[in-house]
Amino acid sequence: MKFYMMHLMPYADLDLDYDQKYNSAWITLPNSYYDPKKGAKLYNRYLDELEYADQLGFDGVCVNEHHQNAYGLMPQPGVMAGALARRTKKVKIAILGRALPLLNNPVTVAEEFAMVDNITEGRLIAGFVRGIGAEYHAWSSNPALSHERFREAHDLIVRAWTETGPFAFEGDQYHFEYVNLWPRPYQNDPHPPIWIPSQGSSETIEWASHPSRRYTYLQTFTPVAMLAKYMQMYKDMAAGHGYEATEDQLGWSVPVYVAETDEIARREAQPHIENFLNKFLRMPKEMLLPPGYLSLKSMLGVMKAKSSIGTKQTIDTVMEKGMFICGSPQTVREKLEQYQSEIGFGHLLTLLQFGTLPAELTRKNMEIYANEVMPYLRERTAGKVSVAAE
């Protein structure tokens, strides 16, 4: 198994009483709540944390894309990847989202990713997402065209990376007379690895698992039961296509907090994970699920279900569901080892800073995780893989 530090780079200095006046930390929360002096310090702190992950022996660091919100301050994640490209030496740099349907010109992403891949001599992992529903409000992009634009933008980028240019791209959503990428990506066998993060969608899994793609499917922030369901779905779909999915095709992204004991971990993490859940993630259903974002059938299911969106969540509810792994090194080791052996994912992305978690606790979390959890799991899962290979 490979280990990554994921960061959302939240605006941790957010006035948490904002919700007395506004119903979301997204789109409609005035940016007067953002103080550039504090934001500048946060950006540099967060980049330091990801650089520290390189020194601590992580296999990769991950950034992502969200717009017009306090939840994640990386509307242009390529900027962060560029900053990390020269300051890190060993880690892979995963840009987990660009939200392709938002783009009027997907070639910009093909170019930007190829530049990062060149500067890092092949340390880039390319993430493609549709983006959460709120992004379609933020960028006035039509959610009813989301699937169509995603697939076409993907095809365009992959062709730009792999075909000798110039060629014309003749799509319904995108049309270019000349596609001729300078620079070509450094990783050319056949192109940088592509990861598909999702909160769980059978359509996405079907697409990602297709034999012509075999992309790494990354399940983000969902109960462990759902994780197991979707990972199995990927394996079944692969089997249906006549091949066996490898662990390399399956990843999990989850917030983790490790401390000296279970009690200390719970006590230290509680306010910050609850702020993450109830303050930073807060948004109404209309913002999260614009028309077309889900299929009509899935949307009907959401409308019928009593939604947990907007209801207060606690550290206990997310710990019970396995959406947040929290405890002593032993507790965290046991849980992750159990889930890994049961579910069989090959990439573990841990969100070691979340919500308002301050710098010193983030560093402590990173150090204990890197020193007391990661080596153990690395050894265990490495052994398993070599046995399986024999």
Partner: protein, 258 residues
Amino acid sequence: MAHEETIETVTGCRIRIMRKGKGEPLLFLHGATGAPRWLPFMDMLAESYDLIVPEHPGFGASDTPDWLDNVGDLAFFYLDLIDHLGLDEVHLVGTSIGGWIAAELATRSCESIKTLTLVAPAGIHVKGVKKGDMFMWSPEETVANLFHNQEIAKAVPQPANEDELMVVLKNRLMTAKLGWQPRMYNPHLRKWLHRVDVPTLIIWGDDDKLIPGEYGPVYRDLIPNSRLEVIAECGHLPHVEKAQEFASKVVSFIEGAA
């Protein structure tokens, strides 16, 4: 007597049509919430006209054809429908997104059109006048914002079962496809509204929170032979909220134009 309901196939697309009454044909083009059921204003208009109420392609019980990408496609479709039904001298009435379709249709051809009535039509943009964002409104906010009289708003029936909820979601999806970006308008429409060469009535509620009343005079000034009538204490759906006043305005306009 009840209205009749048929399925017609036009331009390869099956659509549901409600129809009632005798007289000159009046084609009513519904707004974003569709035309799932027969409403009181329809009976009022059916007293004087052969009232034809289709559900747009992509809405309700009608098909969603592959060719449907924008409101201009629906404008051409309804020109095809008018030919298909063999209609002539049609009184065209459209509300909200249906008003947008009607306006687009009339810029293309008024050959079979006798009069045009636009009810709080979408389709143009007026800089600096903020429209409501129906895609951000919760179902409760939507109903409250569409009506002036909150007693009427409260009485609006909510989807009673899964099928009705599915229709609501389908209509919302197509509304987004047609009008998310640019938001509920075609930047080129206003350039060609001078081509509308039939008498035109524009109706607006004075308390429209979706497309504000400031849009009314702009539309009026863009269409040569048009006049604007404002209905007091009324929201975005005059045909529902002030059915009697709406119907009598339409009837007296059409009579006056004859």
